[in-house]
Point group: C2
Chain length 449, copies 2
């Protein structure tokens, strides 16, 4: 029997699922139809800041697989075609061709929902004007680049999280004066404030203006209908272009309308097989789902390409007759703003508190290589552990070259439920060009003991 798999959303999760399922089940056993409303399939949204900033010269470099490549694998991928309704009772989806407006129903046996996320765009005056840009899709990146072709000298980035700081870097690299306006006391509020302060100070040292504790109110427009300033609770910030870095939220209107289970974040709830809870033959992955935080035991929404790819693979294996699970995440994230590397995994202090855990933290400074080795770069490492049990809870790193990926040590240790004592004993790679004799992560663990 040939089953029909319908995939809604042609990016990381959906197309990973489709490609993996195709590898395991040939066209005679599985027909695959995928719908993508945009102009591009399977691309790296995480790469958009580096394309906008000019590090990546070509948009097409961000595309992992074109529609043609997917079709050559026997996946019928319909571009510029938006799914506008999920009819779960009759096992069919209604789609609309965005070019000619025509609609059609397509039946399915298995459904994968990979509708992604959308940038938070505050419902405030001026925020929907041209020249105010989200950067979640290639189409949005392209629109921003078109704006930058105009005479832009001053950029205001609204939001100080990952997208905010990465876009601040991109604007600096394009030669603009950059102001980052954000609500929290420090940028990068996925870190504790003491670590976020290091990020702010470094950004200021790079010539950016950072305005903390500022609620955005309005984008003031010039006579051409384009931004001339952003008004926040902290004042008026001149701007020729405005970039939104307010984070994203799961794009789950379709799922909600179809009565599928959503969590508090608005993301779809799934089993660890990535099947939507309680639904036979309905799967979901990527930026539209919630994930289990293995450290706190709670569900969170984390939009990250690496999770989308892993979840897609799990769906594809399960659709292909195999058996795989996505056990959850530990909250790892790495980023950079120019030469400053930023990383975190596990729980920050407020998250530990919210999870009802008693904790202790230690903050240390160390270097990426042996202190005497050329290029040894400073980093600050903060480790948090549960009081009593000594179980590691979180790790945060801010530093220069060689800092960020050290967080993987913490990510694996958290997954294994290691204590700080066990971290101190880890047999990590040591040689002077790569690490001090005690890895900075272990220096933090020692301090914590």
């Amino acid at each position: 029997m040939t089953e029909h798999l319908v995939v809604v959303g042609g990016d990381a999760a959906g197309m990973s699922a489709a490609a993996q399922a195709r590898r395991l089940r040939g066209p005679e056993r599985l027909r695959i139809t995928a719908f993508e409303r945009g102009h591009f399939s399977s691309y790296s949204a995480c790469g958009i800041p580096y394309w906008v900033g000019g590090d990546v010269p070509e948009r097409d470099a961000l595309i992992a697989r074109t529609p043609e490549q997917h079709r050559a694998q026997g996946i019928d991928l319909l571009m510029r075609t938006e799914v506008v309704e999920l009819d779960l009772d009759r096992r069919r989806v209604r789609s609309r061709d965005l070019e000619d407006g025509s609609e059609a129903w397509t039946g399915f046996d298995q459904l994968v929902i990979g509708t992604g996320a959308e940038p938070v765009r505050p419902p405030l005056p001026g925020f929907d004007a041209p020249g105010v840009h989200g950067v979640q899709t290639l189409d949005e990146g392209q629109a921003l680049l078109r704006t930058l072709e105009r005479d832009c000298r001053r950029a205001v980035v609204v939001g100080g999280g990952y997208i905010g700081i990465e876009m601040a870097e991109a604007m600096v690299r394009r030669g603009l004066d950059v102001t980052v306006v954000h609500r929290a006391p420090e940028p990068m509020s996925t870190l504790d404030p003491d670590m976020g302060r290091l990020v702010r100070e470094a950004m200021e040292g790079m010539g950016m203006e950072v305005v903390p504790g500022a609620e955005a109110k309005e984008v003031l427009l010039g006579p051409d209908g384009r931004p001339r300033a952003v008004v926040s609770s902290a004042g008026e910030h001149p701007a020729d272009v405005v970039v939104l870095g307010l984070g994203v939220r799961p794009r789950t209107e379709l799922a909600r309308a179809a009565g599928l289970p959503l969590g508090e974040s608005g993301g779809l709830r799934t089993e660890d097989t990535m099947r939507v809870r309680g639904q036979e033959g309905i799967w979901a992955g990527g930026d539209c789902v919630e994930v289990l935080d293995q450290v706190s035991g709670r569900y969170r929404h984390i939009a990250l390409g690496t999770h989308a790819n892993k979840q897609g693979r799990v769906i594809g294996i399960n659709l292909g007759g195999g058996s795989a699970v996505f056990p959850g995440v530990v909250g790892t994230a790495v980023s950079k703003v120019c030469a400053l590397e930023i990383a975190r995994t596990g729980l920050k202090e407020r998250e530990a508190e919210a999870a009802g855990l008693a904790y202790e933290s230690a903050v240390i400074e160390a270097t990426s290589r042996a202190g005497y080795y050329p290029g040894a770069a400073p980093m600050t490492v903060k480790m948090t552990a549960e009081r009593g049990s000594g179980r590691m809870l979180g790790l945060q790193i801010v530093g220069r070259e060689g800092a960020a990926k050290r967080v993987d040590i913490g990510a694996v240790a958290l997954t294994a439920g290691m204590t700080v004592d066990q971290v101190v004993s880890l047999d990590l790679g040591y040689a002077p060009p790569f690490s001090p004799v005690w890895d900075p992560v272990q220096v933090a663990a020692r301090r914590l003991l």
Copy 2:
């Protein structure tokens, strides 16, 4: 009661133990005497290749703590004073002042043995001539630098392990023509031969001559009594200077003479508290001990500063009234030869075989960053796992910038006993400047599945 702690050997393990014990027990409760036969205390032997090569301009940069600094902490450190006998029955050591030849007995309540390792120097003609250098101590590094002040143009490095390749790099950086003569089919025999081949090819690409499968026979001397060539089973290799990179063996003659338990490697056997097996008040750490390989369950000799420091800390805590253990190692090592990074952890295939394990391996190529991000550098990753259980057994990486320290992911996973499946699911740091969307280690794990 004031106890008397005697430390034999003033480098990493011994002085870490002394310093840690001192922090926990003041001079009124613990008197500490340490003996060091050399001119230097607490230095980074691992840094010697980079000092010889010129990356580290000053010898003193390698010294973590001078004798004066130790003395200021209340540790009575006697330099150029060699312990020549351990009298365990009468709880005393006999020492000799290497300047004036005088001898003395010193009683102890607690004894720490940190006598280190010595370079293997084959008992072959010419190998003890001036101009043939081991590089295990600062004194030896200094002697090599004096030789290099002469008109040296051709260096032969005997041995293709860590010290061999690091010294080959050092000689290249000093502008010498370099030949590396070694016995195994490929250099870096701590890797599988297919990975070692990548190292050889890279070294050849750097202009080094690599002579595999060659047994050293003799150093031919010129009329000045200095090397003119090394003779191996593969021919005659012209040399103005010869560097020994044949590895090291534990320096345990004193311990052997005192009847202390040694393992097959000649290293001291200890409990996980680092107390010498079955001996009250006798402790040992660093390059003179064997360590438990947590993956194979066997004991091995691994000379590495990071282990010495960790073991010294454990000894010091236990001496200070606390309780700590050194649980063993997983065999992690990172190194580089010029721009080529090399890393391994766990068991290579032959070691898995020797441990009686059925295994599978996978080898993949990936990049250090997202493929489209500037500076994405290629790396080859090999993962080995137990057949059936899927337990990860080993990880080997050869690549460019950003390759080596990824081995830490494997080191932590091995320590936790993770399966390949669990490695695929790990929440590792992802952003385009730091990693492809699947970390190379996970790409290898996927291939293995």
